[in-house]
């Protein structure tokens, strides 16, 4: 791994006074399609703390990506945030914080745009197609920088080169003038990270950034992200379906199922002491490289329902081994404390 010196553009954000940097409360994002309303996110609650990583884990269609896009208000049509609050504390000057509800800001307005890509950046799953194929890498990078700073073309170019070398891309000066198809998937993701971090964001949202990559490249990218986080002190929201990745990068974990957060706890607590039946089942059903070969895995019955055919009550009840007839299929459980720093939404626990 290249160990370039810390670039000047990297500034440390480490301030932790206990209050979360970003608080998502009761987020509802729905998609209004011709066939009906899809409740992609249906009451999500989570917090992001400075310098920490929140792992948002769930299977396909659970709404984890939509939740992330809702934070930046870039949900694709016909999706719309219909309810909730996203409280973000920005730092106006040293030690002075302003708390704003991002959902109250105009999605296309200057204030939101300054946050989007400036204070909160995002990287995506498909590194190749996330770059425009007909603009050079440098063009797209400097554009991001100049959107959020007052840099001249030359300064922006230099910053871009610094960042490319900082994320471990060889020959950054040359790469700058090349089109994205000349880069491999791993290099594209590095360039993407460089672009996201070049504006010194306080939060990085990583939406399955390694899913499309090979396993050795994935390991490199995960290492890179952890190194950069340690350097800059930024917070991260890491979205993935891979519990192995979660174990490696996350400090806190929120488990999503069909648009809801079903469990939330620090990473070790989730793996040591899962409470929600879904989390439990998920943890036992994943194949492990250190397991005894040819052993049967305990599996979850059924499959994830189509988001339009959402079951009533607790969305997990048709597949749940601990299903309580008359309760789980009728009432909706709420997220409640089931231990210290540990919340779950399941009728097995009082208060839910």
């Amino acid at each position: 791994m290249s160990q370039s010196t810390r670039s000047e553009a990297v500034a440390s954000h480490k301030i932790d006074n206990g209050a979360p940097l970003l608080e998502v409360k009761n987020l509802h994002t729905h998609f209004f399609t011709g066939e009906g309303v899809v409740l992609a996110v249906d009451g999500a609650n989570f917090e992001v703390h400075a310098g920490k990583t929140l792992g948002l884990v769930g299977e396909s269609g659970c709404g984890k990506s939509v939740a992330a896009k809702s934070i930046l208000q870039i949900v694709d049509k016909p999706g719309r945030v219909v309810d909730g609050e996203i409280i973000y504390s920005s730092q106006v000057s040293a030690g002075q914080e302003v708390r704003r509800d991002l959902l109250r800001l105009d999605a296309g307005g200057a204030e939101m745009r300054a946050i989007r890509g400036g204070e909160i950046s995002m990287i995506f799953q498909e590194p190749m197609s996330s770059f425009s194929p007909v603009h050079t890498v440098g063009n797209q990078l400097t554009e991001a920088i100049q959107l959020h700073t007052e840099m001249s073309d030359k300064e922006a170019n230099e910053t871009a080169i610094q960042w490319l070398s900082h994320v471990g891309i060889p020959n950054p000066t040359q790469r700058l003038n090349e089109f994205p198809y000349r880069l491999s998937g791993g290099q594209c993701q590095r360039a993407m990270i460089a672009m996201a971090l070049s504006t010194n964001p306080r939060i990085l949202i990583a939406d399955e950034p390694t899913t499309a990559l090979d396993v050795t490249t994935q390991a490199q990218i995960l290492n890179l992200l952890q190194r950069l986080q340690a350097e800059t002190g930024m917070a991260m929201i890491f979205i993935t379906h891979d519990l192995g990745v979660i174990a490696e990068v996350a400090d806190e974990v929120a488990v999503m199922y069909l648009g809801r957060i079903v469990e939330k706890a620090p990473v070790k607590e989730i793996f040591r002491n899962p409470k929600h039946p879904y989390t439990k089942a998920l943890l036992t059903s994943i194949p492990r490289i250190d397991a005894q070969p040819r052993e049967r895995l305990p599996s979850i019955k059924g499959s994830i329902p189509h988001p339009q055919n959402r079951p009533s009550g607790c969305p997990f009840h048709p597949r749940c081994p601990a299903f309580i007839a008359g309760t789980c299929d009728v009432k909706e459980p709420q997220l409640a404390a089931v231990g210290e720093n540990h919340q779950a939404s399941c009728f097995l626990y009082p208060g839910c």
């Binding site: 896009k69 870039i74 996330s130 007909v134 991001a144 089109f179």
Partner: protein, 327 residues
């Protein structure tokens, strides 16, 4: 890029060859050879042609020899700039075509420009504001524009012009400029007269280009790089114009390559209806009176024009899209 260019030029040459063979075929198709019809035409006008003269002519055009020799001679003559004689006008074909060729090109180019400047903004707006009232209006108009054949549109325009204002919109020049030498006044006069032909000619192209721009842009708008750009904090129009529009325009550019032949072809029928002094009416008249050298030459020339136009837009595409050059 060089490989791409060579390939494109090779296609162009092969296409011109194919068109020349077809044009030659058309010259050959009517019964009797060219000299017989030529002599018949001359005699009908009171001229007397001796047997020797006829033989000289036959030898000159290689008649009686195998078709490929005749084709070769014809092509050789054309390469010399000699397109043969028009027996209807009794002057060399080049003289008949002359200015009409220029006007045809101006008309086709004008239509391309018209198509571009109307279709692209409408298409972009239509895609960005998908399912808005304006989008529906643009889409419906596009459909109708596509459905009305241009010569019918020309007829309707003529009728309306007659019915509402009582004048004929035919021709490309006012009477005082029709036979005058080129001057600024003549150019202005030409431009004024070209507006309606261009609209008539460009409508179908505009309609299809609106649809294609819209569809391409809608495709591009769903691509991940748009989300990336949005997440950077760009304003919506800023990002749409820089990224997806830029990509959506590539197929639009390459499409111009295919619209161009249609515009050139379409201008023929429209010219007949609006009696424009372009190649169209001459071609029709020559075909109807079996003035085949003139007809063959015009078809060949239009073919060459189309190929050159196609080539130009292909090169433009290659310049604009790095991925094309790569291939």
């Amino acid at each position: 890029m060089l490989g791409y260019l060579i390939r494109r030029i090779t296609y162009g040459i092969v296409t011109i060859f194919a068109v020349s063979v077809l044009s030659f075929l058309i010259i050959q198709l009517p019964p009797g050879d060219y000299v017989t019809s030529y002599i018949a035409a001359l005699e009908a006008q009171g001229d007397d042609v001796s047997a020797e003269e006829a033989e000289t002519l036959r030898a000159y055009f290689g008649l009686g020899q195998p078709p490929y020799v005749q084709y070769g001679k014809w092509m050789y003559q054309i390469a010399q700039g000699n397109l043969g004689l028009s027996f209807q006008y009794r002057v060399p074909v080049t003289e008949v075509i002359g200015e009409r060729m220029l006007l045809t090109i101006i008309l086709a180019l004008g239509s391309v420009v018209f198509v571009w400047i109307t279709a692209i903004p409408i298409g972009i707006f239509s895609a960005v504001r998908q399912y808005s009232i304006q989008d529906y209006i643009a889409t419906t108009l596009g459909f109708i524009g596509l459905a009305v054949p241009d010569f019918l549109l020309a007829l309707v325009m003529m009728y309306l012009a007659w019915d509402w204002w009582g004048f004929s919109i035919g021709g490309l020049f006012s009477q005082e400029y029709a036979a005058a030498p080129w001057s600024l006044g003549r150019v202005v006069d030409l431009l004024q007269h070209m507006i309606i032909p261009i609209i008539v000619l460009g409508t179908a192209g505009t309609a299809s280009l609106i649809r294609i721009t819209r569809a391409n842009l809608l495709d591009e708008l769903r691509k991940p790089y748009v989300v990336t750009a949005r997440a950077k904090g760009m304003t919506e129009w800023q990002l749409i114009l820089k990224y997806p529009v830029r990509l959506a325009l590539n197929p639009v550019i390459s499409l111009t390559a295919y619209i161009f032949p249609f515009l050139v072809s379409g201008s023929i029928i429209v010219s007949v209806v609006l009696s424009l002094p372009t190649l169209g009416p001459v071609l029709l008249r020559s075909l109807l009176s079996q003035d085949m050298f003139l007809a063959g030459a015009i078809i060949l020339l239009i073919g060459v024009m189309t190929v050159v136009g196609t080539l130009l837009s292909d090169i433009l595409l290659g310049l604009v899209d790095p991925r094309v050059r790569l291939e």
